[in-house]
Subunit: 152 residues, 2 copies
């Protein structure tokens, strides 16, 4: 048994990419239309761990916020396939692929293949808030035709 929470160390995986005793949340509650059809489950977040592990799932046709921040994302695709941009790189994602999002690098994930895109994301528990792109940032990103196609 987990001495901290009093419950079992084990959380069984359930149908629909849910886990026992893990809440399902909308991705963010900011009310703006910067993302679409994304859910979040926090698999590990504890005062005695410096990292956190979250599971995000983007429904078919959905996408995460285009953003950047000082903290690093360490991503492993757990379910399905999709596409991402990380800086100037457009990435075709398959199940179990891993992706590093370095500090202050614009990134966005999309579920583009007629199926959900689910991924694990490890971050530091102590981290900065994301920044959104200005019009100038978007114009700079769009100078690369492949990135422009991804964004539009």
């Amino acid at each position: 048994m987990d001495e901290q929470s009093g419950d079992s160390a084990h959380r069984k995986f359930r149908e629909g990419y849910r886990w026992e005793r893990v809440e399902l949340h909308p991705y963010k509650d900011d009310g703006r239309s910067l993302f679409k059809d994304v859910t979040r489950q926090v698999l590990f977040s504890r005062p005695d761990l410096a990292g956190e592990l979250r599971y995000f799932e983007i429904a078919t046709g959905g996408f995460s916020t285009l953003e950047r921040h000082e903290h690093v994302h360490a991503v492993l695709i757990l379910r399905g396939t999709g596409t991402a941009i990380v800086g100037g790189e457009v990435i075709e994602l398959k199940t179990n692929d891993i992706v590093t999002v370095p500090a202050m690098t614009w990134h966005q994930f999309r579920a583009t293949r007629g199926e959900p895109l689910g991924f694990l994301c490890m971050v530091d528990a102590v981290r900065d808030r994301p920044q959104l792109p200005t019009e100038e940032d978007l114009a700079a990103l769009r100078r690369d035709p492949a990135v422009a196609r991804f964004l539009d």
Copy 2:
């Protein structure tokens, strides 16, 4: 591109649960017979991340070291099924299940089902070294019949 390493942010998953540009290591190099048929791949370990994410794979019939330590393990089963003990709890593991190993809790993983057991393990980058059980520790663990069956 990853500004730190100069290579792509993306590391493709390959046949046999390998990843591009990720080395395969034996689990430990201590030469004792405390584990059997375990490999380790470090998926994420960076100076700008407080956590590390590793992939361990135990071949059929293999097992990890029975040990404990102050640092916490956050585990997600990526491949196959198996069995574990975490403290006094014997756990039947299925793919995508998650397991928390709290501080100073004896734990061991076994691939018991005629297939490999592969799991992700998130830990703090700064962490203590594992401790091995004394004869007294083993005797105390074996007082629980289910744990004794697992260990023997």
